[in-house]
Symmetry: D2
Subunit: 338 residues, 4 copies
């Protein structure tokens, strides 16, 4: 921690700041500059609340010099985390494609879509059985029956499956059916859920919250990692800004930023980021061009009848075209599509 | 729903839009203007996803004309909701004062602070026993023991108590000790938790999420209301913006906006909104001047030693001064302090 | 400047960083901690671009320790700046009230409104003659004729006047008529205009841009101050956020923040911050309660016919009521209304 | 305009709303629904302030149905605008590459860089002679001498040139030297400047302001178009959000959105959007993948010594690599690099 003191700090105030720092457990190191004194407070305390120093009299600014997260950081683990599930690897050279409907709606629906996405080359089938809906009056998902149908459709077409978990009490049940747990944006800081998923045996895809900084996202990953589950992938899906034309603002630059700060893989979800079908394709291409380790897109054979998020689902032939394009773009940057 | 069509829409596209609207269950009403055709789609479907129409060819814009929430809206219930707990009423003429430490830390601490805030005139004691902390390495609260101490301190000084609930499995336990459940900003869209709190018998204070619009907040209240619990109060505690000098940006104008759109009381929390002690006092005054039905402030007799959020806690004499000022400001607008 | 190095920095990288810092003109001071090395780079260079160090290999983080502004800072000048114009003082104990229409529309209009606001107790008449309108098709103001009418109306009722300047070529003309120049939010970083206003003889009210941090605002003030004009007051008028119910989000906490970082007075403009008449009154009260040195509100005797911003203008009797309320609130915090 | 009335509107209020609409010049069309009455107000008034209706008693919501801009809209002009300058066309199939230093610093510097970017395949040389700097103490550009050097370097290597104009008084001078005027983000709503550029004979590249919505950007383009200059291209360069790791948040989805709403070409500037060299390359790739009509990147042969923005400038070999990658990505989507 670096503590910058006010230019005209009094001797007594200076002593008081140093005394507090020592009481908080830091070794203090003083440098006197032309105009100002700066204190280095040495000691590794990742969760220290720097405002405790900021409020002391005579203190101008305080900066944390250690990252607040540890296990998630690139300085803790240099090599990229590669998550192997069956014969799919996420976080390696290949870009993973996750596709499927927003919600599992019926046996026919999920089997139809699973076949389409498998044929086009996806390896992972998405589909929600428990849906976090803004309105209590909206379709809330098929529950366990949805999980079963998703698993069966995945198995029938050789696909892994990913589905959302909304609360700790669902973990055991979902774990029986899924290959990857998805944590939604609205639950990114549901710390009870994160802690419990740290004890689960399956990998987790953690979506960035609408108002979460990249560091907040990494802190939430730290909850899972520090509870024992090392197979965490992150997901950029748009942040909330003043621009309302798109549902959210897709922060594609988060992809290279996360790769610099962390060893964890980053998936991009252009469907939720933009919310409108015709924006999903260019944004999926952009995400792969920016270095995403995977993309998750919604696909539906009959989006007009979808029970949720139909307007952002790609049609089957759009998805096929997209696969061709992202395959070619991946090659340009020396990667492949699984 | 109002559907604005593109200026040069083709006859066939127009027919297709109308057909879809009818299939979705709306009665369609067409008005032809100078340059454009506008369709009125009549039928009450608060959870209809308007993007299903937005993606149709020939459609320029779609506007929802019914609010997405019902029970929370002022048009559903004209009179202000007044929540009576013991001899305290929230949402009436009097402004409620909730004060106390961020976390319950020890018997001595909570009793000391309870006495201070009671003497200064607060009627409700706040204190966390389960803490949602950004870092897994930070103090996570005393749990049930914290609940017991909070209750005892409240009873000793004639104060009601409010404490945070983080997950559904805690509801029964917390309900035994608290008078009001607090739902934190990060759980504002934890829909499982909201649904379960709709079945609880005690009132709920729902905090606005960092990236939640006022309508999002009202939709989350709708989850609780529609599950049966009508005693909901909302809490403005700052939103996330580009300004980083303060922890969050305190959206004080949300207070009159909520009062116009909803019948539910609004509490303001300047401690979390600003994050620094010397900004809490002017912002608490501002919130009362803007018409808040209550304020929640953190108070600590020894904030340097606080296990969480010490830097934003008021000192006892600051809290006393604040009480005097807000009492005088409440009078200016024809209200009182409970 | 404080330079935090990566944990595993190589000796050669470290030498390179130090060499660069010295070439940039800094004296370098090294502290070796438990896990990391931190360099203090001493030397006062307020405009140094810290990214020049951030991009060097082995550098983890860089923090500026001197504020980027100087003349505007509280550490440069301890005492509050008080701007005296005639018998009005802005920045002292009294809270200044600026009121009037958005635009000067006609002789009758501006005289009618001037009389109303003078009677209610305002000391400064606002009114635009050159209007920055989002649409090229909207009313653009009466130009010089508007300036003349504003001056005449001000003189007739003993009011000072304030009006907006949009470009450098207008400065000489406007200076003949106005007492205070207003720089609008959209021109806050029109550096050519700011530089030229630094040579003007009349005080400047500089409005915060929609996406300007408080430090950006102070940097823009620095442009004026460093060119010689010390009579600068700042104006909080709302920032752009994701919340769209109000026109902007009124960042009232900017008031105490500016008072801490700078000696310049802060005016608050609730009319532009909220954009709707019924929100202006509670927000004006809140601004005074938070410590604003003045408020600027739009008033119109016939807002339905106003050529611009009628919907946010207060009606005459609303303004009178507001004056009574803010007078009482000012007293609560030991201030008065001029 | 669509006016949604409150559910329980009184007959007298309804009559009053209709009377006002008619006085404002609209033809009124009433539809009575199950729960609510909706009025269609017909009449083309792109600059009508809808809040004038919003404040009337009994009005719940008001929606504009005509876009506020006209000449900039896709519905006004179906075909893409193609701007031809010499043998370069912007807005057609080919993607235009603009590259060069942030500022022109010396003859040697600009000639060195011009040669590098020309060899790598760029067709347009960028370089600032008048610099809008946040700090009054920073390098403000070489002025006319910079313009001359830029022109000479462009001519020497067969490049068009683009440079920033900061105020109306510079237009005539800059027009003598440049091929394209650049309007910076901070001047996007400097309406005086936009109006005057509408009378200039050279094309304009208008950068999106940090807090400008896409519609705001199109409204500013409308200022130029409506004053007579039809050669306008837009530039996405990042918006201000709560994420501070990157300088701004690069809103790449603005590219397909602008293409849908407008016929004007869109350039992307990843250098200013991210502010750090290692993020510029992936973001430039992403912008081309998303369909940008051009990219503008900063290049410097000796960025450590650059007088402005060195940390975001690509090194010569990075720029060469980037050219190869974007060339390949452009091909994937059926486009070419000029």
């Amino acid at each position: 921690m670096v503590v910058v003191l006010e230019k005209n700090i009094k001797e007594k105030q200076l002593e008081n700041v140093i005394k507090h720092l020592e009481e908080f457990g830091f070794a203090v190191h003083k440098s006197t500059g032309v105009e100002q004194i700066v204190l280095g407070a040495i000691g590794v305390k990742p969760d220290f609340d720097i405002r405790r120093v900021k409020v002391l009299e005579g203190v101008a600014e305080v900066y944390r010099i250690t990252e607040p997260f540890k296990l998630a950081s690139r300085s803790f683990k240099k090599e990229d985390t590669r998550i192997k599930i069956g014969d799919v690897e996420i976080g390696g050279n290949a870009v993973a494609i996750m596709a499927g409907p927003c919600s599992v709606e019926s046996e026919k629906q999920i089997f139809t879509i699973a076949e389409i996405v498998a044929k086009a080359g996806a390896k992972i089938l998405r589909g929600g059985a428990y849906k976090p809906r803004t309105s209590p009056y909206s379709f809330q998902g098929l529950g366990e029956n949805g999980l079963k149908l998703l698993r069966q459709a995945g198995d029938a077409f050789g696909l892994l499956v990913i589905t959302e978990v909304m609360e700790s009490s669902q973990i055991d049940l979902i774990e029986k059916y899924t290959d990857i747990f998805q944590v939604g944006a609205r639950n990114m800081q549901n710390f009870s859920l994160l802690r419990d998923l740290g004890k689960a045996s399956k990998p987790i895809m953690l979506k960035r919250g609408l108002s979460a900084t990249i560091d907040d996202l990494l802190m939430s990953a730290e909850y899972i990692l520090s509870n024992g589950n090392q197979n965490v992938m992150l997901c950029e899906r748009g942040i909330r800004t003043f621009e309302t034309y798109t549902r959210n603002t897709f922060d594609i630059s988060a992809i290279p930023v996360v790769h610099k700060r962390s060893h964890l893989p980053v998936i991009a979800d252009p469907s939720h980021a933009t919310g409108l079908r015709d924006k999903v394709i260019p944004m999926a291409r952009a995400a792969v061009a920016a270095g995403a380790d995977g993309i998750m897109v919604e696909v539906h054979h009959d989006p007009d009848s979808a029970l949720s998020d139909g307007p952002q689902a790609l049609l089957p032939d759009q998805f096929e075209d997209l696969m061709k394009q992202v395959r070619a773009i991946a090659e340009v940057i020396g990667r492949s599509i699984v």
